[in-house]
Symmetry: C2
């Protein structure tokens, strides 16, 4: 896979190399400010637009942290194929990829091409395993086109006749599987227990809420607006909801959890984690899926002062990344099929939040951090040929 | 068991009731200041001295937080026996029992009798299962004599001819078993990994260091003096040691752990935990055994700001209390025998730090928090009849 539009031919065999690759782009002239300068370009089949990291965000991520560069549409070499991007997935954890300090991935160098999990369609293939028209997912740049040799994270998607294509992003792939493994492997919820989910109206959180309900838990969702809370309660079946913007979180959570908290699926960290730690029951489990409240606090994140409640309550807190589960293909396939079944049974819903146009990707990204996103956030790059 | 010298006859069936019992002592007149007033009394077989909680410590624990009360030596009723205390175990976790807020036990009420895990000998028995001369362990007051009906945590000790009696405190009971379960059940160390122990020269820590070595780890001990560090390195076989008073902990630890940290047996919490979190490897395990640095910070303990490294490294942190393992008598017995075997093989050593005289108990207690204790801290109350 080549995320730089064909100018370089080195295949990238894994995520790590993908990130390091950006180092070679330092001397390129970045064409800045497609957004700021008012030049909002649409999709042009002859051009390859690519968003690069222009500056590291301090605190909140901002559109001007990214700059657009264009080059001609790339042509595949032997054993390569071109991917026309259809949808780019935007996820809170990506904030970590562009901070100075390494996270669960090495840090993207300044000037390097920004990337995402994404979906595309194969064109101009010179690779036997990926004929034209194949739908693929993988890690691609924020761009119109990518070249690939099929290595790395690229996978063909066999369309499931039971599901629309975008269900993959709404409830499978890194979204549904994160919720599945975080809940079933780490939280191991028991029927009748109280399970709390933070970032509950987000892509992963909303699936975790529903899995908690399926497992028989009393599920309490924490979200940031009355609209999100209403959706969690009325559509997804949350037993109680807390709008953290509506009043003191600790007090609201205590009211919502009269029997304490047995398990916590945490996407937020910080004060949210602290409020939960105050209420955990004996042998409680906390799955650290994300800490979106702290991603902007590079220098000094907020450390909960009551972390020692883990000791008092003999409780467990564990971080996880869904990529770690990908090696177990059998478990992964079982999990996917279970999610599909729950969906077909009407027990698992998802909501998509689609922004149209690659040129809007940086602006769309900020929505993950200012509370305006609900459900799975995607950028539509070009038209889906299966539609 | 009756910890109030026979004046009340209600049996106490468990720790929780033991703590609640103190509530009835509120109206008693506390005779304060055996230490401060200069009246240091020795053991008198006709009297029962008992230490009560006179005030809650703010920050560091102080001798004047306790006050002594005396009463006649108690006489057992039917199906009771009297326990003459021999040794009282002092452990850092007891600081939590006397804070305002409940910990892993309910808080001891002001004026209530302070208690400890302890060892004594049965006298004047009117209980068939506990004849005179039986050595018992259990939770008893800081006192000369206690009455018991054999319920609660009281257990007969069958002397092991392979070991001195005090080996129970040095490497078995709540000390050795805490180190055993914390290491083998929670940390699950693999040969060749780096295991760090904080409070490494303490009673539990020093056993954990040696178990780590037995398991084939590279063990790094953190302690608070050059003498303790030398003991860890030269006597217990630690591969590297860090004196946290000798310089910046993070820098020293980094030097001592060139390959990062795979598992951490934490007795200290706070900045020590933070320094370790900075260096954890993928899938690291942290056993929260104690947080002695934070026990005095009732209002606002120090929360490590880098707790999110658990997420980046997919690591696990878990609190535990050895009492939770007591229910599994088979596992407990296997663990005890394993510890004894390691000791007999010369691979597991312990060090006792014995303070003479019940009257010195509060002063001795402060040594757990000011760095002057090394090894298992005990107060000798009266003469061991088996010696």
């Amino acid at each position: 896979m080549d995320i730089d539009g064909g100018k370089r031919k080195r295949p990238l065999s894994d995520l790590r190399r993908l990130v390091e690759y950006g180092r070679n782009d330092k001397n390129d002239v970045l064409r800045r400010g497609a957004e700021q300068g008012g030049t909002v370009m649409g999709f042009d089949p002859a051009l390859n637009r690519t968003w690069h990291l222009a500056s590291r965000p301090r605190g909140d991520i901002r559109p001007e942290n990214f700059a657009m560069q264009t080059s001609p549409r790339p042509e595949p070499g032997e054993n390569q194929f071109r991917v026309r991007l259809l949808y780019i997935s935007l996820d809170p954890g990506q904030r970590l990829w562009i901070r100075e300090k390494a996270s669960y991935l090495p840090s993207l160098p300044l000037g390097g091409p920004m990337f995402s999990f994404a979906m595309g369609v194969v064109e101009a293939s010179r690779h036997a395993d990926f004929p034209d028209g194949t739908i693929v997912t993988g890690v691609f740049g924020w761009q119109d086109y990518a070249l690939s040799d099929g290595t790395g994270a690229v996978r063909s998607v066999v369309a499931d006749p039971r599901l629309p294509l975008l269900a993959r992003f709404g409830m499978l792939e890194h979204i549904g599987l994160t919720a599945y493994f975080g809940t079933l492997d780490l939280l191991q919820p028991k029927s009748g227990e109280t399970m709390v989910v933070s970032g509950a109206a987000g892509a992963v959180g909303s699936i975790a809420v529903q899995i908690g309900k399926i497992m028989g838990c009393r599920v309490v969702g924490i979200a940031g607006s009355d609209e999100k809370c209403a959706w969690l309660r009325d559509e997804l079946g949350a037993d109680a909801v807390v709008n953290y913007r509506a009043g003191p979180l600790g007090e609201q959570l205590q009211l919502a959890c009269p029997d304490g908290i047995d398990s916590f699926f945490d996407n937020v960290g910080g004060e949210c984690l602290e409020a939960v730690l105050d209420l955990i029951n004996m042998k409680a489990r906390i799955a650290m899926c994300g800490a979106v409240s702290q991603y902007g606090a590079d220098d000094k994140p907020y450390g909960p002062s009551n972390i020692y409640n883990l000791l008092m309550k003999r409780a467990r807190m564990e971080g996880f990344i869904v990529l770690d589960y990908a090696a177990d293909k059998r478990w992964w396939a079982i999990a996917e099929e279970q999610l599909v079944q729950w969906h077909l049974q009407g027990r698992l819903k998802y909501r998509l939040d689609i922004v149209d146009g690659l040129e809007r990707t940086p602006v769309a990204m900020t929505r993950l951090f200012n509370g305006t996103n609900a459900g799975k956030l995607l950028v539509k790059v070009s038209d889906d040929p299966t539609n």
